[in-house]
């Protein structure tokens, strides 16, 4: 029996049955790759190949290939790192925080968003390795004894906290994502018609057979992982912001950074989820699963977090003046009117103005407007990190050491590398794994789907028994 509500929009349209869900989602996993997928994959591989060349040059020759100088010691590397980590946060927010808040609309986007998280964190980690200059010594960041060449790591340093935060975040995200995948992999295994896919998906499915006892444990595990991931995701970007906030650079040394960074991370992450999901939805024909209701909900979160970010920008400016610290005041005046004014105003326009358009209902329900704004938001969030890092560094306390930063082709090439890596991984995921969490969508199909417009009430098919369906997803 299906229950419809006048208040809530259906989350699955087209009168889908359980069987339809399986068929619709498994179709692209089981079929041959489509032409558009192949073209996209080849483009991603070419991007990755060029990026890898630039990355190898950076590793073999050294960081002198970048546009860094004595004054600006961090630029695109850390900008890209913070940008990618921030993007990753939306996946955890959708899978963990929205699970705790019992938001059912997360079910059809959480799988892809979590995959995005993992790939974005990998991209972020690649910049951490790159900016070390000698990535083969990356293990020096681990607490190893003196015989390995360094003293114990300094646990008072946010950079060491970052090592723990990012690696924990990556590990827990992978585990959370994979546990959620197991039942769906079992579905693919049980449908497999050829030996190879039965073997591969059978191994990946860990022997899952959907026993009620296992589901009970599975639900416990999901809930606790969500409970663990929620403070984790907040801690990760807080620690990233402390890389800056605990320094004494004017423009960095601010207590507002942790909440402001977390809001910005969720803001950019949702924008990236939207960009990706709108394309996935179109290419894989998932219009019935990723509906206007989903897009609208995500746009509302973008407006909320975008507004928090906007208030943070204004607060920072106010505090710079109110603190009475000359250097702090100059850092902010310089941001808005100095040689990098264009980056500052690009950030303000993209991040503060553009999401406000979502107050208009027709804009937040328009696919084109949503896509354009989601891309603009991500451009804006990249500029935000660039502004924070480069404008704060380039004019320090001693005017004789003031300098400008300009990227070289290797700065740009290493950024391209991360895009190649991200899209290659995402396309592989979209082809070989179910992009929508089938088990979770099936669980809400009764309570949150549109009744089949072509058939009569489903209740009549169930022996006429009128059973009250309660709101029972999680």
């Amino acid at each position: 029996m299906q229950v419809t509500s006048d208040v809530r929009e259906p989350l699955v349209t087209g009168g889908k049955t359980l069987k339809d869900v399986t068929n619709d989602i498994c179709r692209q996993v089981e079929g041959r790759p489509s032409r558009s997928w192949i073209i996209a994959f080849v483009l991603a591989l070419i991007t990755l190949a060029y990026g890898t060349y630039c990355l190898m040059m950076t590793w073999f020759v050294g960081l002198g290939l970048w546009g860094l100088n004595k004054t600006v010691g961090w630029a695109w590397d850390i900008t890209n790192f913070v940008w990618w980590v921030g993007i990753g946060h939306a996946g955890t927010l959708i899978s963990a925080i929205l699970l705790l808040f019992r938001q059912k609309w997360r079910t059809s986007i959480n799988r892809a968003a979590e995959a995005m998280t993992i790939f974005a964190v990998l991209c972020a980690a690649s910049f951490i390795l790159m900016h070390m200059g000698r990535p083969w010594l990356a293990y020096w960041t681990l607490p190893l004894g003196n015989t390995y060449g360094s003293l114990w790591v300094n646990f008072n340093s946010p950079l060491v906290w970052d090592v723990f935060a990012i690696s924990t975040y990556l590990t827990v995200s992978v585990v959370f994502w994979y546990i959620g995948l197991i039942p769906d992999l079992a579905t693919i295994r049980d449908r497999a018609t050829n030996k190879v896919s039965r073997l591969v998906y059978g191994t990946l499915a860990f022997g899952w057979n959907g026993a009620a006892k296992d589901w009970s444990r599975f639900e416990s595990v999901s809930l606790i992982l969500a409970g663990l991931s929620t403070p984790l995701v907040l801690s990760v970007h807080t620690i990233v912001s402390m890389d800056f906030a605990t320094s004494i650079i004017p423009g960095w040394h601010t207590t507002i950074f942790p909440p402001y960074f977390v809001a910005g991370a969720i803001f950019s992450g949702f924008a990236m989820v939207l960009s990706l999901m709108l394309i996935t939805r179109y290419v894989f024909h998932l219009e019935d699963y990723i509906t206007y209701a989903h897009i609208e909900s995500m746009n509302k979160i973008i407006t909320l977090t975008g507004s928090i970010v906007g208030i943070a920008y204004i607060t920072e400016f106010f505090i710079a003046w109110y603190s009475g610290v000359e250097y702090e005041g100059y850092a902010f005046i310089n941001r808005a009117s100095g040689p990098y004014w264009w980056a500052y105003w690009a950030m303000m326009t993209c991040n503060v103005v553009s999401p406000q358009l979502f107050w208009i209902r027709s804009v937040r329900r328009s696919l084109l407007a949503t896509f354009v704004i989601s891309v603009i938001v991500n451009i804006g969030m990249w500029f935000e990190r660039f502004v924070i890092i480069v404008t704060s560094l380039h004019r320090d306390y001693v005017p004789s050491s003031w300098a400008m930063f300009a990227p070289t082709r290797y700065d740009i090439g290493d950024y391209i590398f991360s895009f190649g890596l991200f899209f290659t991984l995402f396309l592989l995921f979209a082809k070989f794994l179910p992009v929508i969490n089938m088990a979770e969508v099936k669980a809400i199909i009764k309570s949150a789907s549109e009744p089949d417009p072509h058939a009569g009430s489903k209740a009549s098919k169930l022996g006429g028994k009128e059973v009250e369906v309660t709101d029972s997803n999680h």
Binding site: N154, T171, D190, G210, S216, V221, L228, P231, M438
Partner: protein, 177 residues
Amino acid sequence: MSDSKKYLIGVYDDDTVLLEAIYAIRTKGVKVLEAFTPFPVHGIDDALGYKRSRLPIAAFMFGATGTTCAICLQVLTLGIDWPMNIGGKPNLAYPAFIPVSFEATVLFAALGMVGTFLVASGLGPGAQKTVFDPRSSDDKFVLVLDLEKNSKFSQEQLSLFLKESGASEVNDKEIIG
């Protein structure tokens, strides 16, 4: 010495029908081996008489282990083994140890709990748990009865119980092993 076991499998089309069926069948004194469903059906734990999972306790224990390990590591390295003067700050700067201790807590709790879950449920790469009906991962809800454990009923009786409770089909399966 092939020891074959016979099972009776009731296939249902709907989760609410399955839930009612489990109650109906268990009140008759029939022992249900297990139910297999494509998604977590709420209330099925109570229907089958399962106790609440103790995994949260495992998660807490692993988490506490993580916290302890992280604090010990930081105190031993920076406080005892090789104290360093870092900006004139105290060697044992506990507030600065919070982030790493927190991350280690989460890491240990998550990995430990998931490991416990996999071991408890017998899941893992290469594991092959019995799939009684492959449609149970698609759109069917499957109830399995072990004939040996229900020897006071005949197969026909059990089969009738399943059908009466709303099963759309009833199959038997013999598993050798």
